[in-house]
């Protein structure tokens, strides 16, 4: 399984890296797709005014990247916790399986 997963992860990384070498647009900026959508809305409806603005905006791009990093870190941290816990549980069980039968009732 580990080998197969490594191949899948490498493939995912390659797909993510590819656009930095080759893109379909001239002079790619890699700006956010939603900024592009804003521009398009202004083209289609030049008179459209956004009628509500964000209740709070990160004061700078740096702070915003902090919050995005925090979001990813919280998620990844919890995933690591989950898989660590489950792996440890499986190993404890395997250990119990090979141990004398007297402890086997604890497994279920």
């Amino acid at each position: 399984m580990a080998g197969r997963n490594a191949v899948l992860l490498l493939a995912a990384a390659a797909v993510a890296a590819l656009p930095m070498i080759f893109t379909l647009s001239d002079g790619p900026e890699f700006a956010g797709a939603d900024d592009q959508a804003k521009t398009l809305i202004r083209q289609i409806r030049p008179d459209y005014e956004p009628w509500f603005s964000s209740v709070w905006e990160p004061p700078s791009v740096e702070v915003q990247s902090l919050l995005f990093a925090l979001q990813a870190a919280l998620g990844a941290g919890f995933l690591g916790y989950y898989f660590g816990l489950r792996r440890a549980r499986a190993e404890v069980r395997r250990g119990e399986g090979s141990a004398p039968a007297s402890r086997s009732h604890a497994a279920h």
Partner: protein, 223 residues
Amino acid sequence: MHIMEGFLPAAHCAGWAAASAPFVVYGGWRLTRIVREHPEAKLLIAASGAYCFVLSALKIPSVTGSCSHPTGTGLGAVLFGPGVMTILGSIVLLFQALLLAHGGLTTLGANIFSMAIVGPWVAWGLFRLVRTLGGSLAVGVFLAAAFGNLATYVTTSMQLAIAFPDPVGGFTGSLVKFGTIFAFTQVPLAIIEGLLTVVAVNMLSTWGRDDLRGFSVFAGGAR
């Protein structure tokens, strides 16, 4: 990438919120029932939410020369059904709207509809279809996550095209334009999300089977 705060006319915001509401209620009901009947699955449900958190924080460059992020809703939809992901996806959207100025409160209903309803339902439906037709677990998971992702952004494009029809090409003309920005950009990201979700399910098939005893994701015997 979601519809930005204030960038959907008020009537549309209300309409999408109304359309999303019954799905959110259903999701809440499903989630409560699952947690009550399978308390052992709680940790994995939280982990599915965490997966959604990670993936929607990763802004990845695309061949179109712009950046967007995956949704991460396919995993939970395949494991626990689409209703659960409606709730977890809505939490992610709310977090991003409040703290990141990404998406928005007025556009929350529309964004929930695309990312937390259409995406998970397409993912779940496709997974069931592939498995019923005898496709392998990996193929089912890959297609579910990839097309769930793509369906989310096709929906976003449609929502914007309905609100902002092109003066010349009308709805269709506008759909093509928004689709180029959102859906086309998503193609490589959908592939990435598909691959990552297969890795996650592979790991779960080794370490997480006990948490999924009451669910049918591994049913069919295939690994």
